[in-house]
Amino acid sequence: MPKIKLAEKTIELIKEICASFDNKEGELINVLHQVQSKLGYLPAEVQEVIARELNMSVAKVYGVVTFYSFFTMKPQGEFPISICMGTACYVRGAEQVLSEFKRQLKIEVGQTTADGKFSLSSLRCVGACGLAPVVMVGEKVFGRVTSPQVLKIIEEYKEVNVEE
């Protein structure tokens, strides 16, 4: 078992999140959601802390993390880009949009650009089918995206410095 090497602050944060769900095993998915939203990803060490706090085996935690495609063990880019591949988006050209993102960023789904700015993922239906095809960058939703708009979206975020 790898010994836990996380910063004290990170461990405290995970403990707080677990405590806010009464350290209940049944809340695992909610805990994972919150922890990932704070840390960006769920590395092995993080899963070990969660397992200990919820008094369950780390194998079970890993089982859930690997079952749901939403959870990731790899660090995400500063701006995680998700392309909806749900039925509505798909039929309105989401696939072409996705390949344009891949071409522009030179990465595949599940990867992060070398400068750590962008990562790419596909997801299933964000409930905004009227805006299909939908792209999300972080929390922001872009609707009726076409291939030519892809470069513009990327350029927009390249300018932004997240530290400010």
């Binding site: 078992m1 092995a44 079970k60 890993y62 749901y68």
Partner: protein, 581 residues
């Protein structure tokens, strides 16, 4: 009560009964693959995943899995209609379409439930050609995982999590990539696996098997420069016969000794001898701690816990390292035997330890791991060279074309082959502590025991307790088998609420008779009960039934060790534990 009709026959069952149970109650056996129930042990696996047990329920559109479908009033079920048979064959064909077809060289061939199922359903062709799983093989000191042979029945996961509470195995990933694996898909030897082998004991296919050491033993036996000796654990003699189609519970002690001699072992000894030795050391330790406690020593660690079971030892090293000073420091009988064989016995034969090969026959896969622990070796030469399971011994016997059933009964060799009845009962839950009581009582009170059978310590309940009157001093004894039950007693000790003076723990349900290296029980608990009865009957028929009365044990102390807990005994027969958390 609920009335239903199964295959045109009326059945009355209690509420909560599954269709599978209802059918079984009138003698209709529905084939199952993932389902497994150990009656009376509260162990059941029914994920309803494999779909082999599907049946037709009149009025329902889809076929229903019998193992998870509850019987309802007026239900009409067809268990073997043509539609059902067709579906069942399709299901098994689909499972086989992603299963390696290497039955010819598979360790599980002949004992494989998937193979039996394919045979039963008369499958001669697999119509579905598709992708095949390719997952790396994982080899540990005791268990091999060949995940390509996994059918996701989840029995191992249930044993590992619910029964043993070890929590190493879980289903991970999704869809076609789903496998049962440790966290982060690490290898078993990096995980908190105890090697109890209960996953191996219930695996229906060859996905989980023991590390096969028969080849190494054959090489040792054919090496003229080696003297090869063998020890046999108590539970093996109560189960080995099953591998040769003998009735479960048949004692084959004499035939086993004869078979080992015919295989070419130079000396055929008995782990039961070392079990008697364990009692001398562990019993003395128990009495030492008890006397100190009675005299008011507040630092004394009680309860004392038995330490014969290597999976249990690894369990507390990982999960309760703060309690590592509580178990007895006595090594297990296997390791005591190895240490004595490579010193006392090697000296007698004027052999160097490297010239002596010690083989154990164990009901256990964790014993392979135990023998590989560094502290049980000297200058890189292990005290026990190879630990074979009961199943591996059966393979050797078959390989040498020995007709086991017609063998005469032969005796063990001396001086490491004599044992008392107390040594024999080490093979079942409750046995170690009963053996300890027989000796500790007499040493403590200075009086002969009024009786030898402690029925209150026997049985199959997962947690048992009894108070034995040591001539006016009540001694509280706890017994747990299955690591989940052990955990409950450990939590009490941690919380300071334990009422016990001594606790026996065995990792496997039933104790060693249900060990991970025993002939496969395929879910039949009756087999374990019969083995247990056989062990107690062997004890009953022994002339000597107390460890301290074993003449060869007395001689060993006189000639070599001095007395229990002596410096030499400490060096050779005791050990220490490690924090592995």
């Amino acid at each position: 009560m609920i009335n239903l009709i199964v295959d045109n026959k009326p059945v009355v069952v209690k509420k909560g009964t599954t269709v599978l149970q209802a059918a079984s109650s009138i003698g209709i056996e529905i084939p199952t693959l993932c389902h497994m129930k150990l009656e009376d042990m509260d162990i059941e696996n029914k994920p309803g995943g494999c779909r082999v047990c599907v049946v037709e329920v009149m009025g329902r559109k889809n076929l229903a899995p019998a193992c998870v479908t509850l019987a309802t009033e007026g239900m009409e079920v067809k268990t073997h209609s043509i539609r059902v048979v067709n579906a069942r064959r399709t299901v098994v064909e689909l499972i086989l379409s992603d299963h390696p077809a290497d039955c010819l060289i598979c360790a599980k061939s002949g004992n494989c439930e998937l193979q039996d199922m394919a045979h039963h359903l008369g499958i001669r062709e697999i119509h579905y050609k598709g992708e095949q799983s390719t997952y790396r093989e994982d080899t540990s000191p005791a268990i091999i995982r060949e995940i390509n042979k996994c059918i996701m029945c989840r029995r191992c996961e249930m044993m590992c999590n619910e029964v043993q509470t070890v929590g190493v195995l879980s289903a991970v990933n999704r869809g076609f990539n789903a496998v049962v694996a440790p966290a982060f898909e690490m290898n078993l030897d990096h995980s908190v696996c105890t090697y109890c082998g209960q996953c191996v004991a219930v695996c229906p296919t060859g996905a989980l098997t023991e590390v096969d050491q028969t080849g190494a033993v054959i090489r040792a036996l054919s090496d003229p420069s080696k003297t090869v000796i063998v020890q046999t654990a108590p539970a093996v003699r109560a189960a080995l016969g099953e591998e040769f189609h003998m009735e479960a519970g048949t004692l084959v002690t004499g035939k086993m000794a004869a078979a080992l001699r015919r295989l070419g072992f130079n000396y055929v000894f008995d782990t039961d001898f070392a079990a008697d030795l364990t009692i001398m050391e562990e019993g003395t330790e128990l009495l030492g701690r008890l006397s100190a406690y009675m005299k008011g020593d507040k630092n004394v660690k009680l309860p004392i816990l038995t330490s014969c079971c290597p999976a249990w030892v690894k369990f507390f090293e990982h999960q309760f390292p703060e309690l590592k000073d509580i178990p007895s420091t006595a090594r297990s009988p296997q390791q005591m035997f190895g240490a004595i064989a490579k010193t006392y016995f090697a000296e007698k034969l004027k052999l160097k330890r490297e010239e002596l090969v010690v083989v154990s026959i164990m009901p256990c896969v964790a014993k392979k791991y135990e023998s590989s622990r560094e502290e049980f070796s000297m200058n890189g030469n292990p005290d026990v060279d190879y630990a074979l399971t009961t199943r591996e011994l059966a393979r050797l016997i078959n390989l040498a074309n020995i007709d086991f059933r017609t063998l005469p009964d032969e005796n063990f060799d001396q001086p490491l082959g004599e044992s008392s009845g107390a040594g024999v009962i080490f093979g079942t839950t409750g046995g170690v502590i009963e053996a300890a009581v027989r000796t500790a009582y007499e040493v403590f009170t200075g009086k002969p025991l009024p009786r030898l059978d402690f029925e209150e310590l026997r049985g199959m309940d997962g947690l048992r307790k009894a108070t034995i009157d040591f001539n006016g001093t009540p001694i509280n004894i706890g017994i747990a088998h299955g690591l989940g039950n052990a955990r409950k007693l450990l939590e009490e000790i941690k919380a300071g609420t334990s009422e016990f003076h001594a606790i026996e723990i065995m990792s496997c349900p039933g104790g060693c008779i249900g060990g991970g290296g025993q002939p496969y029980h395929h879910g039949d608990v009756e087999i374990l009960k019969k083995r247990q009865r056989a062990i107690y009957s062997e004890d009953k028929n022994k002339k000597i039934r107390k460890s301290h009365e074993n003449p060869y044990i007395k001689k060993l102390y006189e000639e070599f060790l001095g007395e229990p807990m002596s410096e030499k005994a400490h060096h050779l027969l005791h050990t220490k534990y490690f924090d592995r958390s």
